[in-house]
C-alpha cells in the first residue's frame, strides 16, 4: 500500500501540490484525474521521489520515502515500474534492448534467460518478433507505449506508475492500452497508479486533484 499524507510541493515559490492525502491500495488500479496543469505528473513524480517534496509523508508499506537516503530510495525504485507520458524509450537502443536494459542492470540471470524474459514481456504486450530489432523512432506511438509497458514490467515491479498512458493515442489504441494495464495489474498483482486526463471506466478508484 502507498499512503500519501499532507503533501506539499512548490517550484520557485509557486505551490503546485497543497495538502494532498491519498491511499493507493494493493491490487487496484488507482487513478489521478485533474485539469491540465493541476499537478498530476508532479504528484506522481513526487510519490516516486523524482521530485523532493517540501513536506508530507509518502509511505510505501510503512517506509517513508522523504526520510530515506538516496541508496534506499534506489533500492525502493527497483520495486517500481513506470510508464512515461512520452514512453521515454532509449533512442539508441532497439525494442529488445530497451526491455533487456533493466534486466541487464539488475538481473543475475544468464543472457538466454534475460532474452526469454524480455520476449515474454514483449509477447505479453502483443508485440511480434518483427519489431524486436527496430528502434523506437521506427515504430508507432501505440507500439512505443507497449514497449514501455514491457520494459516497466520486466523486473516484476510491485508498483506500476503510468503517466497519461493514453496521451497522443487514438481512442481504439487507448482502449487496448487501458485493457493491457488493467490485465497486467491483476496478473502481476501490482499496485497501479495512473495519471489520466480522461476518466476511464476501468479504474475503480479515482483520486481527484482539485485546483
Amino acid at each position: 500500500m502507498i499512503e500519501v499524507s499532507h503533501l506539499f510541493k512548490s517550484f520557485d515559490g509557486e505551490q503546485v501540490l497543497k495538502d494532498i492525502s491519498a491511499v493507493f491500495e494493493t491490487g487496484k488500479c488507482n487513478m489521478i484525474i485533474g485539469q491540465s496543469g493541476s499537478g498530476k505528473t508532479v504528484l506522481m513524480k513526487s510519490i516516486i521521489g523524482l521530485h523532493r517534496v517540501d513536506s508530507g509523508k509518502i509511505e510505501y508499506d510503512s517506509r517513508n520515502l522523504p526520510d530515506m537516503r538516496m541508496r534506499d530510495i534506489r533500492r525502493l525504485r527497483r520495486e517500481v515500474g513506470m510508464l512515461f507520458q512520452g514512453s521515454a524509450l532509449f533512442d539508441s537502443m532497439t525494442v529488445m534492448e530497451n526491455v533487456m536494459y533493466p534486466l541487464e542492470m539488475f538481473s543475475s540471470s544468464t543472457r538466454l534467460e534475460m532474452e526469454n524474459r524480455a520476449k515474454f514481456c514483449l509477447d505479453r504486450v502483443n508485440l511480434n518478433e518483427h519489431s524486436y530489432h527496430l528502434f523506437p523512432s521506427e515504430i508507432s506511438g501505440g507500439m512505443q507505449k507497449r514497449v514501455a509497458i514491457a520494459r516497466a514490467i520486466a523486473l516484476n515491479p510491485k508498483y506500476l506508475f503510468c503517466d497519461e498512458p493514453n496521451s497522443g493515442l487514438d481512442p481504439k489504441t487507448s482502449l487496448i492500452i487501458d485493457q493491457l494495464i488493467y490485465e497486467i495489474t491483476h496478473e502481476f498483482n501490482i499496485k497501479d497508479l495512473n495519471d489520466f486526463v480522461f476518466a476511464s471506466e476501468l479504474y475503480k478508484q479515482v483520486k481527484k486533484i482539485n485546483q
Binding site: 513524480k45 512515461f84 541487464e104 542492470m105 539488475f106
Partner: protein, 246 residues
C-alpha cells in the same frame, strides 16, 4: 550568484558521477561506444584542421622571418613549437569543445527532456554515473592520442608546403622541426589536453543533465556548454602553463 550555484551543482553532479558503477559490465559495454563516438569520430576534423593550420603556420612564419640574420631553420622551429605548445592542445581542444561538447550536451539534454533520464532513475540506477562516467573516461582516454596525432599531422602540413612550393625547402623545414627539440613540451601539451578533455566532457554533461523544457532549451544548454567550457579551457591553460612552464 549564478556562478556559485553552478559550481555547487556541478560539484554535486561530479560527486554522483565518480562512484563505482551499478553494473561494471554495463560501463565496459558503454565505454567502447563512447571511445568511438567522441574519439575516433573526431579524427577527421583533427586531421583537416591540423594539416591546414600546419601548412598556414609554416607559410606565415616564413613570410615574417625573411631576414638574412635569422637562421634558415627558424621557420620549422617556430612552427613546431607553436604546434606542440599551443595549437595541438589548446586550440584543438577549443575546436573539440564545439564538436564534442555540443554532442554531449545535446544528447544528455534530449534524454533529460524526453524523460529518458527519469526512466533510468526510476529503475534505481544512478543516471549521472551511467550516462556521464563513460563519456568523461572515453574522452580523457582519447585526448592524448588526438593531440599527438594533431602534432604529427600539423608538422606534416608544414612539410607539404616545402614539398609543393618554393616558400621553404624541405631540408630547412626538417632541420627546423628537429632543432633544439624539448620532449617536455609534448608532455606539457598532453597534460594540458587531459585537463581540457575533462573540462569539455564534464561541463557539457552538466549543462545537458540540467537541461529542462523543450528543444530550444537543449540548444541553449548546448551553447552554454560550448561557451563555458571554452572559457574554462583558456583559464586553465593559463593556470597549467604557469604551473608547468614557469
Amino acid at each position: 550568484m549564478n556562478i556559485v550555484k553552478d559550481i555547487g551543482l556541478y560539484s554535486l553532479l561530479m560527486y554522483r558521477v565518480f562512484v563505482k558503477p551499478d553494473r561494471g559490465r554495463m560501463f565496459w559495454k558503454q565505454l567502447p561506444k563512447e571511445l568511438e563516438k567522441l574519439g575516433l569520430a573526431s579524427l577527421p576534423i583533427v586531421i583537416i584542421i591540423s594539416i591546414f593550420i600546419g601548412a598556414i603556420m609554416t607559410i606565415q612564419t616564413k613570410l615574417n622571418t625573411e631576414n638574412p640574420l635569422l637562421p634558415t631553420y627558424s621557420t620549422g622551429l617556430v612552427t613546431r613549437d607553436t604546434l606542440l605548445l599551443e595549437f595541438s592542445s589548446t586550440i584543438m581542444c577549443l575546436i573539440l569543445a564545439g564538436k564534442v561538447g555540443s554532442n554531449i550536451a545535446s544528447e544528455i539534454g534530449t534524454m533529460r527532456i524526453t524523460e529518458q533520464i527519469d526512466a533510468i532513475e526510476i529503475m534505481g540506477i544512478n543516471s549521472a554515473n551511467y550516462l556521464i562516467l563513460p563519456k568523461i573516461t572515453a574522452f580523457v582516454l582519447m585526448m592524448p592520442f588526438l593531440v599527438i596525432f594533431s602534432m604529427a599531422i600539423g608538422l606534416t602540413g608544414g612539410y607539404l608546403v616545402g614539398a609543393f612550393s618554393d616558400i621553404i625547402t624541405t631540408a630547412d623545414y626538417l632541420l627546423g622541426i628537429q632543432y633544439a627539440f624539448i620532449p617536455y613540451y609534448v608532455f606539457y601539451s598532453v597534460v594540458k589536453s587531459l585537463v581540457f578533455a575533462f573540462l569539455i566532457s564534464s561541463v557539457a554533461a552538466y549543462y545537458g543533465y540540467n537541461a529542462y523544457g523543450g528543444a530550444l532549451d537543449v540548444g541553449k544548454a548546448s551553447t552554454n556548454a560550448v561557451v563555458n567550457s571554452s572559457i574554462l579551457i583558456l583559464f586553465f591553460n593559463l593556470l597549467v602553463t604557469n604551473l608547468m612552464l614557469n
